[in-house]
Amino acid sequence: MSENYEPNIVAFLCNWCSYAGADLAGTSRVHYPANIQVIRVMCSGRVNPLYVMNALQQGADGVLISGCHPGDCHYMEGNFYARRRMGMLKDLMEFVGVDPKRFHMSWVSASEGHKWKEVVEKTVEEAREAGPFEGFRRRQIDW
């Protein structure tokens, strides 16, 4: 691993809580690492577990999924589905030999700008420890 290795993180945030929380972090000018790129979805329940695998195939070293706190989902129960699905996915990833430090799930509400910063820092730090990921790389798909 080179000294200045910077992991590439793809994050899926729900529109109502975590994306708003990340916006609040911006409005409050809290600073966090630039390694994270966000894809907005309406609900963490929208995130197909295959997206995580796909991100790892397409060049990500780590993936973060963040939604509303359990019980606070804007769509009532979407984040429960996300939690169940991603729990299974995490087990599967460990089974096939992917370092679980590459995969994170968090609950960040619309008022938790500072928590978002902590989540990003932790995600980036752990992905950095896990090192560059070449496990499932495949040729970039031209959609």
């Binding site: 000018r29 966090y32 309406m42 990500a60 959609w143």
Partner: protein, 666 residues
């Protein structure tokens, strides 16, 4: 999609908000090299009129059919740009935003890093926008009625405004009477208007208004549906008193076998009430209620030879067989006006609120000075030995506000002024009293506030800057231990009465409303508004509005102003009679759906059902989405085994290219 995508990328400087950290020109140059991008420009404020004109002209001149705006959060300006491209003749859903402000320029310091990240975000947006589809928003009818939860001054004002405009209002109040906290107050600052005198006419109005259906002693159980068409279920709790027969004469309360045995909620526990009671004399509706927790007959099944209230009620209104009733109705908009809880002073044990009867809260002081209060307006306190008129009075401000140790960092906004007002009232009633106010800061920010504060100081009320550390007893006096921080003098003041200027807290039961309406909390735990400045009465749930202290501490004028704001916002869908429903709903590919029904079970809105169709001569079951019920969350899609159900604008084939684009520049 027959036409080839022609993408225009617009990178905003946002003054220097973005351009100070992101090299916008480099981002635009980079964007121009991306597939299908025809035009890439930068501009100082894309959201401004000339910025929008720039986009519109390019759409016409270059025949652009997909637009990317790289600027602030889509939560901020997506509607603005959707409208702009629609005006230029493009489908509004052919827009994608790259959030390079809130999630890039404002949170990163290094220009190189922030520019590289912006490039990726733009590339990701380009990857998605090429594959977006045109969507048509649909209009549905809106029910011309509103639900208002909470009948304090906020709820009452909003109800009156909406009802006066000619719409039906369902006003739901948890307690037996409308009026809320304002009804408990004696005078209001800074004008010293009598609170009851200005409130009770409004209370009566809202009970007698032909357009208002007042549901007192009721709670909202369920709210389903969406803006324009909310289905509401309300539980009318049993009063054990026939609402139509009760004349409000009060014979029952006077004869109750447990007469005046229970602390009165209205008098903050300082006065007593019977098991059958009217919360306060001016209560609206003036109908008695039996408290099932204190009534002998209801708790033990026996009350002497027979319930006394039933015996004396000439109207025969007492009915112990009464049961809760469920009322169901439809409304187009909802206003939440649930108010606040006063801070629980026992959470500051150093002030001895639980230990000494002559340490009281500001709310209790209101009842003590009120002519309709438990002492008839005489300021009398029990100092542990005898009842006295206090000659030495201390007020402590910021109890439970601006105090991280109890988790309340916010200012409660009303305490400075109600303490000044109460000091004035004490001066009025006990002219020779020695009155001090311990404060951290005095915030007299409103209309007439500073003048009032000045007046109170001239009435020989001493303001001492210092936050008391402890209150303890010495003889029959209370000792307030404090440092006067202006003169750096430690003081031990001996007083007869301490009034704690308690702050405002979110209601302990706000969770129920949050769960009903999917509302969020801001960091201070009050309800979160859609935008702190520009949408202060809206929530993230369309058609649901906030009024009063449930959104944050407020005084009465601010509460009334916000209630009027919420009422006018709520009336928009009611007056139009129609609402747009989101076009971003899920869609089923009937050719590949296998009809397993997983999505039917997943959907929290029961928006999906299985229907029989004819597929190549065979009758098969497939899922079908009810577009009016679907909210577009996409949970169904992630659970679909054949990827047949997909939320529009967030389809797999639109998100996967976004993921791929984020991986390229490594």
């Amino acid at each position: 999609m027959t036409d080839k995508p022609k993408v225009g990328v617009y990178v905003c400087h946002c003054g220097i908000n973005i351009s100070a950290t992101v090299d916008v020109e480099t981002v635009a140059d980079y964007a121009l090299k991306l597939p299908n991008v025809e035009v890439a420009r930068t501009y100082s404020y894309m959201c401004s009129d000339p910025g929008q004109v720039l986009i519109k002209n390019d759409i016409k001149e270059h025949g652009l059919n997909r637009i990317i705006v790289a600027s602030c959060s889509p939560r901020m300006h997506e509607p603005t740009f959707r409208k702009a491209i629609q005006e230029a003749g493009l489908n509004p859903y052919y827009l994608e935003m790259a959030n390079i402000r809130e999630q890039c320029s404002w949170v990163h310091e290094d220009m190189e890093e922030a520019t590289a990240k912006s490039k990726k975000l733009v590339a990701s947006a380009v990857a998605k926008v090429r594959l977006l589809e045109a969507l048509e928003s649909k209009e549905v009818d809106a029910e011309p009625a509103a639900l208002i939860i909470g009948a304090g001054i906020a709820g009452i004002q909003a109800a009156l405004d909406i009802a006066d405009a000619g719409f039906k209002v369902f006003l739901v109040e948890k307690t037996p009477s409308v009026g809320g906290r304002m009804a408990q107050l004696d005078k209001t600052f800074p004008t010293l208007d009598c609170s009851a005198c200005i409130l009770t006419p409004k209370m009566v109005d809202c009970a007698s208004h032909p357009n208002i259906e007042l549901l007192s002693y009721s709670e909202v159980e369920e709210i389903g549906g969406y803006i324009g068409n909310f289905d509401v279920k309300v539980r009318k709790k049993a009063r054990y008193v026939d609402f139509d027969k009760c004349t409000g004469c009060g014979d029952c309360a006077a004869e109750c076998r447990v007469k005046d045995r229970f602390p009165s909620e209205f008098d903050q526990g300082m006065g007593k009430r019977s098991a059958i009671y009217l919360p306060f004399p001016q209560a609206v509706p003036a109908k008695y209620t039996i408290d099932p927790e204190s009534c002998l007959y209801l708790t033990r099944g026996k009350c002497g030879k027979g319930p006394k209230c039933q015996e004396v009620c000439k109207a025969e209104a007492i009915n112990f067989e009464q049961e809760d009733e469920i009322v169901e109705f439809k409304v187009g908009a909802v206003i939440v006006a649930t108010g606040f809880d006063p801070f629980d002073a026992s959470r500051k044990p150093e002030y001895g609120y639980n230990d000494y009867p002559n340490v009281i809260t500001g709310m209790e002081m209101e009842r003590l000075v009120s002519a309709s209060g438990p002492t008839g307006g005489k300021v009398k306190v029990f100092n542990g030995e005898e009842e006295i008129e206090p000659k030495e009075v201390a007020f402590i401000k910021c109890v439970g506000s601006r105090d991280a140790s109890v988790g309340n960092e916010y200012c409660s906004r009303v305490c400075c002024m109600y303490v000044a007002k109460q000091a004035h009232l004490i001066r009025d009633k006990i002219p020779d009293a020695n009155i001090r106010v311990y404060y951290i800061d005095v915030r007299a920010f409103g209309k007439g506030f500073e003048e009032f504060y000045d007046r109170v100081r001239r009435e020989n009320v001493r303001y001492i800057r210092g936050n008391p550390s402890e209150i303890f007893k010495r003889g029959n006096k209370l000792v307030v231990k404090v440092e006067d921080t202006l003169t750096a003098t430690p003081l031990e003041d001996e007083v007869d009465l301490v009034v704690l200027g308690v702050g405002l807290e979110p209601r302990a039961d706000m969770r129920e409303i949050m769960d009903l309406l999917r509302l969020s909390q801001s960091p201070d735990r009050f309800f979160l508004e859609a935008h702190p400045k520009l949408r202060p009465v809206d929530t993230a749930t369309e058609g649901v509005f906030l009024a009063g202290c449930c959104q944050g501490p407020k005084d009465i004028p601010d509460t009334v102003a916000q209630a009027k704001g919420a009422a006018s916002s709520a009336m928009i869908p009611l007056a139009r009679g129609k609402v747009m429903i989101s076009a971003q709903v899920a869609e089923v590919d009937e050719a590949t759906c296998r009809g397993c029904g997983f999505c039917v079970n997943i959907c929290p809105y029961t928006a999906i059902e299985l229907v029989k169709i004819n597929r190549f001569g065979h009758e098969v079951e497939v899922a079908r989405v009810n577009e009016a019920l679907c909210k577009g969350c996409g949970s169904c899609s992630a659970g679909c085994l054949s990827d047949s159900i997909q939320p529009k604008s967030f389809r797999d084939r639109q998100i996967l290219p976004q993921i791929a684009a984020l991986g390229v520049l490594k």
